[in-house]
Symmetry: C2
Subunit: 355 residues, 2 copies
């Protein structure tokens, strides 16, 4: 089994180091191979997703990804910016199903912006479609407007689109995931305004016929944003498109107060996947040794479970993380009175120790 | 001065009745004329925005709007559904600038989902562009895909677009509004993915050159959704497109805990406007006499200030609402231990009394 390790920018390398340490101690005979991605790859090879990095990711059984992006690349042309690497990987590897758990860790309830009673025990799974929608739709660009409010002026445009098979496959993923959890799916759309999401709603409803044991409801995206704030525990699985999923999954992650703890998986149709923390590259704290490596370590656990068929090893990592939290160890982002503040490396060492 | 009164569906008529009562007691010699809109208009005239209603709105100096929508119309063809009325009014009246204050009323801090220290004193103004973006972009519809992941299959699509003058005018509105407040504008985009919002960012930056006294920063929409949850008080004025504004303004309104209290204004280039509460038609509580009329009453105050040039009258309404809250009167949505629960009509009467 081969794992491509793409540390990326900002805190990416530090947190990935810790996850690699944890993987190695499991002694499972994986082959790990690293390559630069994002800004680091732009510096090294002139492109955020060099051919060699993409080929490594394609050849591997799974990809462990850190984070990409730094303000210093803001002035580059779009195709050279670090984020293009993650968009390119999703596209070229066909990673259409993004799993973003929003879990409130019992030990961290107090760290949420929300009142504790609203988030204690929170466990939502957001399933975001990741290779379609307005992220990749063509045509897009700039042109002279021929109609609209100001014909004859310069305009920019993008195309939102979803085809039937794209919606069907993500709907199946959501219903199957719900079966293993609370048995409820909320499909988030904007069918009252968008053709694309009226179609989304229709197709999700059709696919639901295969899952009579799962409860399905539909919610407009603006209402979903409100309900996440008001009563997040009412959700079980949320399934939505790429654009709405980008916004809602980040809002939900932040609500938990545990964003430094939340892993994510992006899977193709054969369960090959890319695994990365839900948080970003945090260039402001890069190199200081204070970033929380737990989201990345838990992403490695997800990788073992979803792509590498090693559920016991995944359990071992997750139990170790839980033990370390219960022992009171905290990186600064989740620290509170009465717990022990540790750095990135100490936290990784503690997880290794607990395994 | 003529005010078009469009009560609409659900709780719309009840809450608009109270706002009309308040307007009348000011004795300002307005002519008020009502017309059906939304589901009510569909029932009465077979269309959610009948010709006569649109003409009344066009002829008036301002429009006072209740709310539209009810589950019972979900099965109608899209052009006949209640929401089309509000989209049609925005479009035909050219109401491109939507003002959505997100204020946390001191007396209601405890009603927020957020911890009190995060929302006490919160006062954000979200300025949402309202006649462009993917809401109105053409072409849109269903067709057979010619490219993408599954060529040859059925797909649905929409067009996101913004022209330079559309972005310029909303940017001016935002910078001018910021001058009268905290002097800071956050422009929310998704320039890392969308051509439309790279252009948005570029044009907002250009317009900013005219406002050296205002501070401008840019934020991606996913990050904005997170920061609203994490530290909403960091914002002053947020300006964004129609789609992102729909989601963020609802999330922000819910964060305050005061959603039953939040008015909104949608203005054209001459400050003619449509005024409506930020909340919806709440069909589940319609006719029960328990809906909170204060958001609609405060919308009437906004109307007096923005469109009817009666700032003193607006002040009188706002002071009266404040007095009524301080006296402990609460509709059920904002009630808490130690305050007095009142119905829709009693609340309206109390505001009239306080004026
Ligand atoms: C970096 C950016 C292109 C990306 C996205 O919008 O998908 C990020 O926000 C994410 O959610 O992974
Ligand atoms: C009813 C709907 C079309 C509308 C919108 O999406 O603009 C509503 O959500 C709003 O924000 O006023």
């Amino acid at each position: 089994m081969k794992i491509a390790v793409l540390p990326g920018d900002g805190i990416g390398p530090e947190i990935v180091d810790e996850a690699v340490k944890v993987l190695k101690v499991l002694d499972l005979n994986f082959e790990l191979e690293s390559a630069p991605v994002g800004g680091a790859a732009y510096e090294a090879a002139g492109h955020p997703l060099p051919e060699a990095t993409l080929n490594l990711a394609k050849a591997a059984d799974a990809v462990l990804f850190g984070a990409v992006g730094d303000w210093k690349y803001d002035k580059l042309d779009r195709p050279l910016r670090p984020e293009q690497a993650i968009l390119g990987l999703r596209k070229h590897l066909g990673l259409f199903a993004n799993f973003r758990p929003a879990i409130c860790y019992e030990q961290l309830t107090h760290a949420s912006s929300l009142k504790p009673e609203l988030v204690a025990g929170l466990d939502i799974l957001i399933i975001r479609e990741l290779t379609g929608d307005i992220y990749f739709g063509q045509p897009r660009g700039r042109r002279t407007a021929v109609d609209g409010h100001f014909p004859g002026t310069e305009e920019a445009f993008d195309t939102m689109r979803y085809s039937r098979p794209e919606i069907e496959r993500i709907a199946h993923v959501a219903f199957q995931a719900a079966r293993k959890r609370g048995g409820r799916v909320t499909s988030v759309d904007k069918a009252n305004v968008l053709e694309t999401f009226q179609f989304w709603k229709d197709v999700v409803t059709e696919v639901h016929a295969d899952y009579p044991d799962v409860q399905l409801d539909h919610m407009y995206v603006d209402n979903a944003a409100m309900q996440l704030v008001k009563a997040p525990k009412k959700f079980d699985v949320i399934v939505t498109g790429n654009m709405f999923g980008d916004i809602l999954s980040d809002a939900a992650a932040m609500l938990t107060g545990s964003i430094g703890m939340l892993p994510s998986a992006s899977l193709d149709k054969n369960n090959k996947g890319l695994y990365e923390p839900s948080h970003g590259s945090a260039p402001d704290i890069a190199g200081k040794g204070i970033a929380n490596p737990l989201a990345t370590i838990l992403s490695a656990a997800m990788m073992l479970r979803f792509s590498l068929n090693q559920p016991q090893a995944a359990d071992r990592i997750e139990s170790a993380v839980s033990a370390v939290l219960s022992a009171g160890l905290r990186t600064p982002d989740i620290w509170s009175e009465g717990t022990k503040k540790v750095g990135t490396r100490e936290m990784g060492d503690a997880v290794v120790e607990a395994i």
